[in-house]
C-alpha cells in the first residue's frame, strides 16, 4: 500500500526512490540477490550484447495506437461533415450516440467558473471517468489525444536532432504539472473564465480538426517547436492538467502494464522510449518491490515499453481477467 502510494505520489512530482526494507517481498529480494551473482551478471551482459547485435524492432502497439488516434478523431470529423451523429462535439465535450461525454478537466473548469453543477456535465464526466478508468486513465493521452500524436512526431525530430547534437533536452520538475493543475482550477473559480482553455492545445487541435483551423493553431505549433528544440515532450510531461486528471482517474484501473522482474535484464530500453520514465524506475536493478509489479498511475498505456523490451518483461495486463474467464 505504501509502495502504491509512492507510485501515486510520483505522478504529482515526487522523486522516484528504492523500495524500503519492508516494501520488498521475499521472493523479489531473493530474485534480485540471485541476479547479482557473478555468473548471472555475466550471463545478463552476454544476453544484452546479443540483443544489441540483433535488435528486434517492434512497432506493434505504436501502430495500433496511431490507428486509434486517427480513427477516433476521424469519427468526430465524419460525424460533423457527413452528419452521421456518431460522436458530435469536440474532445472537450461530446455526445457519443447521444450519450453525454465531457472531459474531466474542462468540465471541472466550467463548473468552477460558472459556480453551478450542471447535470449534463456531471453525467458526461461520470461516463468519461468510468470509461477511462476501465481502459486505463491516461490511455486517453496516448490512444485518443490528437496533440499526443503531433507531439510524438515532434519527439522523433527532437531525438534525431539530439543525436546530431543540434538540440538538447531540458528537464523540468514534474511537480510543475500538479501546481498548474491547481492554479488553473483556482483561476477558473476566482476569475470566472475557463482560463486554461485559452492555452489548451488539446481543445485547439481537436476543434481545428473538426471545425477547420484557426489562428490559435500557431500556439500549438509554437509548443511543438519547444518540444523539438528545447524540451522533449514538454507539454505532456510537465504541463498538461488534462493528463494529470486522467492519471488520477486511472490510478487503480484494470488495464495495466505489468513488469516481470525475472525476465528483465535491467538495460533500460524501456525508459529511453517512455513519455513518463519515472514510472519505469522499478525496472532499475534493486528498485522493484515484487516479482510482478504494475507500473505507476502516470503510465499512459501507450505500449512503447512493451514494444521496446526485447525480453517481454513488460506486458499489458487486464487485472482480474484470468479470474473472470
Amino acid at each position: 500500500m505504501k509502495w502504491f502510494l509512492h507510485a501515486f505520489a510520483m505522478m504529482f512530482g515526487a522523486a522516484p526512490r528504492k523500495p524500503e526494507e519492508g516494501e520488498v517481498t521475499d521472493a523479489a529480494r531473493a530474485m534480485m540477490k540471485f541476479k547479482k551473482l557473478p555468473d548471472q551478471v555475466k550471463l545478463r551482459k552476454q544476453r544484452i550484447a546479443e540483443e544489441h547485435e540483433f535488435p528486434v524492432v517492434s512497432n506493434k502497439w505504436r501502430n495500433r495506437r496511431w490507428a486509434s488516434i486517427v480513427i477516433l478523431n476521424a469519427l468526430f470529423i465524419i460525424s460533423y461533415w457527413f452528419d452521421v451523429q456518431l460522436v458530435e462535439g469536440a474532445l472537450t465535450a461530446s455526445r457519443f450516440f447521444g450519450f453525454h461525454m465531457a472531459d474531466v478537466f474542462s468540465a471541472a473548469q466550467v463548473m468552477l467558473a460558472f459556480k453551478e453543477v450542471m447535470l449534463n456535465l456531471v453525467i458526461g464526466t461520470a461516463t468519461v471517468v468510468i470509461a477511462w478508468w476501465l481502459v486505463g486513465g491516461r490511455a486517453f493521452c496516448s490512444w485518443i489525444c490528437p496533440y499526443h500524436l503531433l507531439a510524438e512526431w515532434a519527439e522523433m525530430i527532437h531525438l534525431k536532432l539530439a543525436r546530431l547534437g543540434l538540440a538538447k533536452d531540458h528537464v523540468f520538475h514534474r511537480g510543475l504539472r500538479t501546481v498548474l493543475w491547481a492554479v488553473f482550477l483556482a483561476l477558473a473559480f476566482f476569475t470566472s473564465y475557463t482560463i486554461y482553455e485559452y492555452i489548451n492545445p488539446v481543445g485547439i487541435v481537436s476543434r481545428a480538426l473538426i471545425y477547420g483551423p484557426t489562428v490559435a493553431i500557431f500556439w500549438v505549433l509554437f509548443l511543438l517547436g519547444i518540444e523539438v528544440f528545447y524540451s522533449r515532450r514538454f507539454w505532456c510531461r510537465y504541463v498538461c492538467p488534462i493528463g494529470l486528471s486522467y492519471g488520477i482517474t486511472g490510478a487503480v484501473s484494470p488495464v495495466q502494464v505489468e513488469y516481470n522482474l525475472e525476465l528483465c535484464l535491467h538495460e533500460g530500453e524501456c525508459r529511453k522510449v517512455c513519455l513518463v520514465p519515472h514510472v519505469l524506475e522499478v525496472t532499475k536493478m534493486g528498485y522493484a518491490s515484487d516479482t510482478f509489479e504494475y507500473i505507476g498511475a502516470d503510465c499512459t498505456r501507450c505500449g512503447m515499453c512493451v514494444d521496446a523490451c526485447p525480453q517481454g518483461a513488460l506486458k499489458f495486463k487486464v487485472r482480474g481477467l484470468d479470474k473472470v474467464i
Partner: protein, 266 residues
C-alpha cells in the same frame, strides 16, 4: 590553483575534502537551475494564459451569440467550447471564435450579415445541443429568444425609407447565405442567391422576418401618395439577424445589436 599539488601542509589537507563537496554543489546547481526553469515555465504559462484577458476586458468584440445564450460573462464561464451547437445548425449560422477573442476562444457566435439564424430548425436545436446550459435550456420556442434587437442604423440607405422598390437578388449571385422560404419548402433552407425578388416597395426585412409581429413597415407621412415607409422594430424582435442578412443596401441599413452590446451600453 596551487591546491592541486600534493603537499604535506595540514591546512591544504583540510581543503582536499572540499573538492567532492564542490562537485556536489555543481550537481545541486543543476538541480537548482532545473527548479528555477520550472518556476519560470510555470509563471510564463500562467502569464500567457492571462493574455486572454485583454480582448475580454477591452471589450474588443460584441458578438451576436446563438439563441438562449446567457449574459456574456456567464456565457463565457459556462461554455465548454465543444461546438455541438455548430454541428446541429441547419443553415450553419454558428461559427467558433478564434484566439484573438481571448477567453471567448472556441465559443460560438453568429455573423448575421453572412448567415443569420433564421430558425430553420424551429425548435432551437443549438439550445438542445448545448451540454452545459451556456445556451440556456429554459428556452423552448423561437419567440422566447433574445439574442439582440434590430435597429435601423442607416435610415438614408433604406430603400423603403426612400420609397423605392427592389428587383433582383437581395445580396447578389455570389452570396452563400441560406434562408427558409416557407411557401416553397418548409424543411429545406434555400440559397438566398437562388431566390430573386420583384417588389414595388422594398419590404425584405419584414417579409423574411421569422418572428410574427417583430417588425413592420409604417408610413412616414399622412400623405396617401407618399410611398416612403419606415421599418419599425417591435418588442417581439428576438435579434436573429435575418433582416440584417437580407437587407440589399450595402452595408446593411438595418443591423442587429447583440445582447452584449446592449448590456454594455446599459
Amino acid at each position: 590553483m596551487t591546491d592541486a599539488t600534493p603537499t604535506p601542509d595540514p591546512e591544504i589537507d583540510e581543503m582536499i575534502p572540499e573538492a567532492p563537496k564542490k562537485r556536489l554543489t555543481r550537481r545541486e546547481l543543476e538541480k537548482r537551475r532545473m527548479f528555477l526553469r520550472s518556476v519560470g515555465a510555470g509563471v510564463t504559462l500562467v502569464g500567457l494564459s492571462l493574455v486572454g484577458y485583454f480582448p475580454v476586458l477591452k471589450q474588443l468584440f460584441d458578438r451576436l451569440r446563438p439563441p438562449g445564450a446567457l449574459e456574456e460573462d456567464d456565457f463565457l464561464a459556462a461554455c465548454i467550447k465543444c461546438g455541438q451547437c455548430v454541428q446541429v445548425c441547419p443553415v450553419e449560422a454558428i461559427k467558433l471564435a478564434d484566439g484573438d477573442e481571448g477567453y471567448a476562444l472556441g465559443t460560438p457566435y453568429i455573423d448575421a450579415r453572412k448567415q443569420a439564424c433564421d430558425f430553420s430548425c424551429d425548435a432551437v436545436q443549438c439550445v438542445l445541443a448545448c451540454p452545459t446550459g451556456a445556451l440556456t435550456h429554459e428556452i423552448a420556442r423561437k419567440e422566447e429568444v433574445r439574442m439582440g434587437v434590430a435597429r435601423l442604423a442607416r435610415p438614408d440607405a433604406c430603400l423603403a425609407m426612400k420609397g423605392q422598390g427592389f428587383k433582383g437578388l437581395a445580396r447578389g449571385d455570389l452570396f452563400q447565405g441560406m434562408l427558409r422560404y416557407e411557401d416553397i419548402d418548409r424543411w429545406t433552407p434555400m440559397r438566398v442567391a437562388d431566390h430573386p425578388y420583384d417588389l414595388e416597395i422594398c419590404d425584405l426585412c419584414v417579409r423574411e422576418c421569422p418572428i410574427t409581429g417583430a417588425i413592420s413597415l409604417e408610413s412616414v407621412s399622412t400623405d396617401a401618395g407618399d410611398t416612403r415607409r419606415r421599418p419599425v422594430i417591435h418588442d417581439a424582435c428576438v435579434g436573429c439577424g435575418t433582416c440584417e442578412m437580407i437587407c440589399p443596401a450595402e452595408p446593411a441599413a438595418i443591423v442587429v445589436d447583440a445582447k452584449v452590446t446592449r448590456e454594455r451600453v446599459a
